[in-house]
Point group: C2
Chain length 757, copies 2
Amino acid sequence: MTHEFRIVGSNVPRTDARSKVTGAAMYTDDFKLPGMLFGKILRSPIAHGRILNIDVSKAAALPGVKCVITGEDTPKIKYGNWRLFPQTQDEYPLAVDKVRFIGDEVAAVAAIDIDTAEEALELVKVEYEELPAVFDVDRAIIEGAPVIHSITPNNISVDRKIQFGDVDRGFAESDYIRDDVFRVPAVNHAYMEPCSTLARVDADGRITIWTSTQTPYIVQCLLASTLGMRENDVRVIKPAVGGGFGGKMEMRSWDFCAAFMAQKTGRPVKITLTREEEFISGRRRHPMKIWSRVGFKKDGTLMAKDLKVLLDGGAYNSMGPTATFLCGYFGAMLYRIPNYRYFGQRVYTNKPPSGAMRGFGAPQSLFAGETQMNMVAEALGIDPIDLRIKNAVQSGYRIPDVATVSSCGLIDSLNQAKKLSSWTEKRSELKDGKGIGVACYSFISGGVFNWFNTQYPFSAAEVRAFADGTVHLLTMASDIGQGSDTVLKQILAEELGLKMEDIRLTAADTAMTPQADLGSWGSRVTLMAGNAVIDAARQIKDKLAGALFSRFNLNVIFKVEFKNGRVFPEGKPERSMTFGEAVSTAQKANQGIPLVARGHYTPRGKGIVTPTFSFGTQVAQVDVDKETGIVKVEKLWTAHDCGTAINPVSVEGQLEGSVHMGLGYALCEQLVVKEGTTLNQDFLDYKIPSAEDMPPGESVCVDTYEPEGPMGAKEAGEGLVSPTAPAIAEAVFHATGFRSTELPITPENVLRGIGKL
Amino acid sequence: MTHEFRIVGSNVPRTDARSKVTGAAMYTDDFKLPGMLFGKILRSPIAHGRILNIDVSKAAALPGVKCVITGEDTPKIKYGNWRLFPQTQDEYPLAVDKVRFIGDEVAAVAAIDIDTAEEALELVKVEYEELPAVFDVDRAIIEGAPVIHSITPNNISVDRKIQFGDVDRGFAESDYIRDDVFRVPAVNHAYMEPCSTLARVDADGRITIWTSTQTPYIVQCLLASTLGMRENDVRVIKPAVGGGFGGKMEMRSWDFCAAFMAQKTGRPVKITLTREEEFISGRRRHPMKIWSRVGFKKDGTLMAKDLKVLLDGGAYNSMGPTATFLCGYFGAMLYRIPNYRYFGQRVYTNKPPSGAMRGFGAPQSLFAGETQMNMVAEALGIDPIDLRIKNAVQSGYRIPDVATVSSCGLIDSLNQAKKLSSWTEKRSELKDGKGIGVACYSFISGGVFNWFNTQYPFSAAEVRAFADGTVHLLTMASDIGQGSDTVLKQILAEELGLKMEDIRLTAADTAMTPQADLGSWGSRVTLMAGNAVIDAARQIKDKLAGALFSRFNLNVIFKVEFKNGRVFPEGKPERSMTFGEAVSTAQKANQGIPLVARGHYTPRGKGIVTPTFSFGTQVAQVDVDKETGIVKVEKLWTAHDCGTAINPVSVEGQLEGSVHMGLGYALCEQLVVKEGTTLNQDFLDYKIPSAEDMPPGESVCVDTYEPEGPMGAKEAGEGLVSPTAPAIAEAVFHATGFRSTELPITPENVLRGIGKL
């Protein structure tokens, strides 16, 4: 398509790059306030138990300790992101009555330094009555299992069904049916910056917190709620954030404890987690047990799918309800499935809560679905890519009751990946432990279902235009390292015909930026905040066009262009004003009142999932050492459809990050939890791929233009995390004949799989 | 009048009181940023000279010194508040070519600590060619005097005329004419917090400064201009400010130097002046020589006035042009003068620049005018209060071409002061060195004339209303200790029927609060920012009224009340919603878009001075010790008309502060400048009254309601600084027969006046 952009589509340097590289960027832990105290959290050493008594007297008496709190001191208000269904809000900021996992937050202290705070933790004496615990989803749901939350006697906190077509008939009409079970482990977000919160009581009694979060608005609301305050008496500011990947999209105990202890002491309180705390008690990607039955015609036509999933949710719901739905939704994506049934159950266990993590149900669901697709191809003797092309969804396809696909480059991506990777040749020629495999993905561009029950637009932007030719963009959207600040500035610069340096950006401060933005998750920011920015920008443009018409007494039919800092009627650049002159003129016409516009975006009529979908295909080539079982990924080819790439180099960064995360998920990452204890508590024991492990790659952007997206864009940050594992698994199968239905595909598993262990 | 208020008119505690009393309030110098440097300024040791050479090499080589700058390093752009007349902008941030007073800024350094910075200053070697200097206005304007600015060969940078009626005929028709000359000295603002600036280069290359200022918007614009940047690439934040009194209403050298050195070093730079610097080089109230001729009928009718003033402006214009006009304007106020002529000349001398100071021309002009009024009363044998009542302006009075008086309690104030002080009895009975005297004042409620040439409304306010029943008020108005934050919150709370604690206030941040506000000077904030707040609040109310009408399907003629956190039709409280419910309903009606309104105020059609005027009368009783010459003020009675007192205890605070300042002006304060050197450089040598010296007082508010003011209010912070000196002077005359036409009335002057010296 012919969309001519100047700034959108070009590799604009990230606005935060310099400050991050030089160390000037301020992360939460970098902030120091006068009189600031340091907080620490006492965690449960047992997986399940009743709190009989907590004696804080010795801790409180330790010199330098300014505050010790337990759940009993607090307002005892439960929280959780799923405000729309209050019964899902199952977590206290500090444990009340019971602890439910090893690491559950029991008490907090604030002291003049970290050492004193840690010493005080040891002086807090907690008496527990230990209760039987359950760590396995299969056991947790049987009659007589320990009950983790009394209102959920069967330990199934959420279940979710999706159904369309006639599944039984679909299978009846199938020539080939297969059942498989897949298991995927818990993995850690491994963001570079551990969680950190700094809370201050303002002069007027309000609370301000700086916190490492993806969702300042959510933290604001839930923190206010748990403190018993009004929403707008809490201000949340997001400083520089060193990654989130879903692990920072909730209000958490430390946000509450820092704020509550700041209230109790009148002094600022900062709490920064250690890496060990992150591993032991941090949110994680849901481990799942996935049972999938598919039915095909002999010619490869997909007829029916029946999917059942048990999600190991750990001790609290966290973002589990969303993962439970999305897992089923992703099970129905990618291919035209005429008959589909999904039943997902999110199960409580006495383990650290699972939450959101990059992909949000897709990596699990697509590992199963794409692996099974490869199995079917094998069984039916059809090339895996051809099988996919045969069934692939296309633009306009409607998933009944769920979604309608707008732009769709899936088939293109399959064809391009096939070509790019020399698939056909390699598929037939690779030998000696080498293999090649393929997998696809689709992902959402933001969520439509309003589980947070916000009363505001999903995204908002304020644009202030000034006579000096600059504009100020205010948005609650949160750059957590993914580069959204840069992208939003590009969109605004493009729309207004300005340069990047003409734009001041203020973001992610709940008191100062416009209500609201749901945060950075579900790959929603570019599309939703981007659309809000365009909405605001167009209002500004209307005003400036008016100034131009009035100054040159133009015929009302002219279209006005905004380019290179100038405003002029299309085709008549000689009748132009600078952007600043136009602002000045418009402002004068309104008696000096400054030019301000607020734009908004809320997806309406977009099904129940997302306004639009990304697609893509990845091909992996591996070399499996049959002696050691080590899988080396030799190369990855990716063809992906993210609509317009607002900032191509940023999209590439997202691709590389996704590959890195997908590679770990495929081959080496897993949280090993034994009797509720997470055994790997640091980066020595928890293996993430190093730079050395990263395979070379080639990628191509499939050319699509998404009508719902800002300037044709859709998501680029999450979908790509899914195909790597199933593509590698297929390549391993191609190389060795070993088909792994579990992750990670460790050397041990490979050796066992090929009969060497 | 019957205006029922709940919060307006009550003694609401100052919102900043607690933080200031506990020391929690953050003034500029309290801020510390990582890597921050400390700046110092090198000042000229000579009163007038050409800079031949500056050698900074030794200073720059001193370990710990990170930056040394001179005027030559800078963009050499002149600045000054009178942007409307660029030729008045006569000051460089750092001297270029010439120095013009002792203290003129010549160079600046930034170092890792203050000691190093001070040491570096001593290492900067400046070669001057000394030029003849002139320190006296009479000498400065004669032919052949040293020329201080080459474009102003006669050293008269500004002159201003006001004329109406036929002055010559007025005098011709007078029975009694007198000429007098008055002299008033330079005095120091003596604010508690010396000037301080902290500048940082933001990650995006923009500049942020925190500065102790009355006028963040003005500093933003002029700092951007002198740095060669765009206005909105500079952000000015006003932290807590410890007083200004006119001394902090300009961009100053340290704002520029901190910002410029932050740019050069990439590190934050803070400059805080010492008290000595404040005394030696700080702005000051204009010393003046005032010649006044008045003509009266025998019966006391004022027929004509001819006023000529030489203002000693010092080396740069500063706010001199405004003082030059206002001095003439105040000469025409208070009384119905049918024929008036004013000629004011602001004269350059080689002394520190005079600027704005509380009263802004009024203390000088009214000392002359009110003293002369008392002289005339004496001469005509008319009681001074009766003479004033006879000539007093009243509501509706029009000063030709200048202003129309709206509400006016002058005559009331005279009558009430007379009664309150038992004037008549005391005037006839006081003996033995005791005396009683009277003087009146009038003052502006903000200036109308746009000398800063702003393109924005004079005041603006944004109000955001939330469903939790809170509102957020954003305004660039600057609380510098006068209490405007509290007053604006009261006005908003009153208008919306909320409580003070329902309001979050963000003020005085040029990047975040709405454009613009001209700052805190000329007693403009309550009236102008208050009106902007009401404008915004009413837009919010319109929306909420709509929500109410729609919810209860009301007849369109109902008036809607906002009281006690509820919204309801007048007289039908049973059909009410809480404020928050109404917001929620209005927001829902607009698809969740938050409720935000921007209000503005710009005085239009309000003459050329001010939208409205305060008035008042003060009576002083003194006891003069004829042996020592010491004047003890035994009591002060004040009747003043400030319209509605939004916060009576704050008005009382303003009265006490004004009396304190007026007392010092009357009796003891003066900057003693010899050959350009200010001799009194600290509070030991510069005498301000102590708490012990404060006289007991009684005061009464005259009941008026100003239609142009927010909820009937007008100014209360500056006018009262004027009457104290002339009232005391008259009381001294009444007690001793010594009539002082100069200030301060020191013991030495009294003894000389009564022939004892």
